[in-house]
Amino acid sequence: MAEPRVIPQVIVVGAGPAGVRAAEALVQAGLRPVVIDEGRRDGGQIYRRQPEGFKRPYAALYGSEAARAKALHDSFEALRGRIDYRAETLAWSLWENELHVASGDRVEALRFDALIVASGATDRLMPTQGWHRAGVYSLGAAQIALKAQATAIGRRVVFLGTGPLLYLVAAQYHKAGATVAAVLDSSPLSLRLKALPKLLARPEVLVKGLGLVARLRLAGIPLRTGVTPVEIAGVRVDGVAGVTDRDRGGDLHTIDCDAVGMGYHLRPETQLADLARCEFRFDAETRQWLPAIDEDGRSSIEGVYLAGDGARLLGADGAEAAGHLAALALLSDAGHGGLEAEMARLRLTLLQMDRFRRGLAAAFPWPAEAARALPDEAVVCRCETITAGTLRQGVAELGACELNRSKALTRVGMGRCQGRYCGHAAAEVVAAAAGLPLEAVGRLRGQAPVKPLIIAADSADTEAAA
């Protein structure tokens, strides 16, 4: 056995499936990584743990994924004491070999030799006229309300968008006793059939998905595919009142509701990779910019590894494998030996999952054409209330055909979310208006802080000195 040359100081960002499995592999190799996580508890979004004092059993919280959730939580419990775990801590910036973290108003710079970013994903959103109204939530937020607080986003909810999460959250709401008024999927069924060969890469997941759809149908919940969302109607004071869509035949339907859960699959949280100056590449299949990684999770920057949904959307199982593999790649790069067989096995697993990921991308495509059809008065950037018309005017009158230029001249993406939720749609609107391919309009560059940083921020040393 080759002796490790150095014991690197490693920071893992994220305590979801990828982060936990990465930390576990590092601990097994004799390291004591720092694990930074924004959450109050481990588990990430998918295996989010309920607050202390809540008593729902695993089966109720995680359904068919209960065993996996429990396994991950148990693994994390076993790591406690062997890692430097920082919960409720935001990695807000990065400079050279220091990760800048904030917990409340306490800030610290943590030195690292290597960094594993397992920052997860958030909902990918395509605006619909009226989506800025109170009562519209992302699918992820709708699910968090249920998982964390056993709360529904409304009494009568329409789920709108596309992707597996659409059906999962609808089924979870139905099971929890909320009225699911309808599930409206922008993807036509034909694409799902076409993507079947790729989806068969993970037959057990496919069966679970079909099971969800069957359960919703059995419950008499209207499920329609190939719809074009037209408007989320409502008034300023009461918020959402209904959803109007156009079916494939061109007929309009309006469904009354008091809340909408919407989302079009997910998008990786890539700000830290951006601040680490990792190279990004345009992914034509999913129409978005992703940080470049090799098959093991190495980014273009030495010592920076990216794993899980924050790099490639392989789902929770894929994230566990990717987190594990990224940690082994890091160890291997640091001189640890005897890892090759395990790495080869993980690569094969990921290859299969990536085939499935591509199947999902083909079955539930990002509805790029909806951006072109968005009415001028529809809000694209909710933080700054920037409409599609303003972006188009920016292209036509100000020559703002590149996304950062559009941001500078129209304020799109300048608010609290820093374009994380509107950036993809804004790029589509600008590209369509400018008559350019999407990759030509670029992407919003990530700027610190990763999430808002309080002005009261201070380091422990300053306070001690004062």
Binding site: S93, H100, A408, A448, P449, P452, L453, I454, I455, A457
Partner: protein, 380 residues
């Protein structure tokens, strides 16, 4: 390859170049404006947005005054105001020594037509209830204010084009030389631009061009460290600055009407002219927030939502290069504004247009002549 000609060639589409092109058109001169990226994308677009005169190098005040007059007429000149607001500018100080400096400056500035009001400790809190307990006095400049740097330079660029200037964006000049009576600039793709007059307004890239005419300057690129908070109720009207000799204490901030508080100051960050990038060092942001809450304690619970930087250019004596070349007739410079060029921009454009059109300007700019760096070469 295509060739273009005009009365004047302006290289660099920042606020100096864009406004010079605009004012040259106002004087009836045909103009070519060349920009390697997009108009107003570098230092002109990323700075703090200060339209401040007080605290400037005194001999620069006539130029600043001329520029201030233009800021007040933007709507009339350009058809848009770039969010210019005459809010006043307040400069606080923390000790008696700096109060002395404020008093001296106010006395001296009066000779240049800048009237400043010194405000004592108690009056300060009556006038500006947001200010924390530490400042002991302030100097208020009622006619100063702020504007939106993201909008101002593109607005000058568009107005210049509407007035007939030829604008070439995404055009990098790889060489410039005087060929006979004309300057000839050649772009990376081979396009040629000819003119009897050349004005270099290329900011951090200006030194590369001046060097081609045998006038190298010790210019360095640095990046301002800017930040902005989430929108808050609009309570801080004036632009705020601090009079201090301690670098860490330097902080400037302004609240825009929609509520965000923009701030900067302290140490500058690294900037790279070759890759057109500048970065914010996180420790600089942390040092700034300390000074922000020291001045305005009520901001402690507000949040910073974005930081940014950009490529600015600095010279060892902290004043720009502006005026005719010392060696080549028909060649003019206006670059290297050391982080304080935004307020001056429109005035610089106006003065350079006057200088090119008339051969002289009524505004004194001698201290900024490039000869201060190249005189030794001349003697040799």
């Amino acid at each position: 390859m295509t060739s273009y000609a005009a009365d004047a060639l302006v290289i660099g589409g920042g606020i100096m170049g864009a406004s010079a092109a605009f004012f040259l058109r106002q004087r009836g001169r045909s103009v070519i404006l060349i920009e390697r990226g997009l108009v107003g994308q570098q230092a002109s677009g990323v700075n703090f947005g200060n339209v401040r005169r007080q605290g400037r190098f005194l001999p620069q005040l006539p130029l600043a005054n001329r520029s201030r007059a233009i800021w007040g007429k933007l709507l009339e000149l350009l058809g848009e105001d770039a969010e210019f607001l005459k809010t006043g500018h307040i400069r606080f100080c923390y000790n008696e020594q700096q109060l002395g400096a404020l008093e001296r400056y106010a006395k001296d500035a009066r000779d240049y037509g800048l009237e400043l009001e010194l405000i004592s400790r108690n009056a300060l809190r009556m006038r500006f209830p947001f200010v924390g307990p530490e400042p002991i006095a302030g100097s208020f400049s009622p006619e100063d204010g702020h504007a939106n740097p993201r909008l101002a330079t593109p607005a000058f660029g568009r107005a210049a084009v509407r007035a007939g200037a030829q604008l070439f964006e995404n055009t990098e000049i790889v060489s410039i030389a005087k060929v006979g009576e004309d300057f000839e600039a050649i772009a990376a793709d081979g396009r040629r631009f000819r003119s009897p007059v050349a004005l270099i307004t290329a900011g951090a890239w200006g030194g590369i061009l001046s060097q081609q005419f045998g006038e190298p300057v010790p210019i360095v690129a640095r990046g301002p460290q800017m930040a902005v908070t989430e929108p808050l109720p609009y309570r801080i009207t004036p632009v705020i600055g601090v009079c201090t000799t301690v670098e860490e204490e330097v902080i400037y901030m302004r609240q825009v009407e929609r509520g965000n508080v923009v701030f900067g100051g302290g140490r500058r960050g690294p900037a790279y002219a070759d890759i057109k990038r500048a970065y914010v060092v996180p420790t600089n942001t942390l040092a700034q927030v300390k000074q922000v809450r020291r001045l305005v304690p009520a901001l402690a619970n507000a949040r910073v939502i974005r930081t940014w930087s950009g490529v600015e250019s600095y010279l060892p004596d902290d004043i720009p290069i502006m005026g005719p070349s010392a060696r080549v007739s028909g060649l003019y410079y206006a670059f290297g504004f050391c982080g304080h060029g935004f307020q001056l921009g429109p005035g610089v454009g106006d003065v350079m247009a006057e200088l090119i059109d008339r051969g002289a300007t009524s505004t004194p700019i001698e201290p900024f002549h490039i000869q201060r760096f190249t005189a030794a070469d001349h003697a040799a």
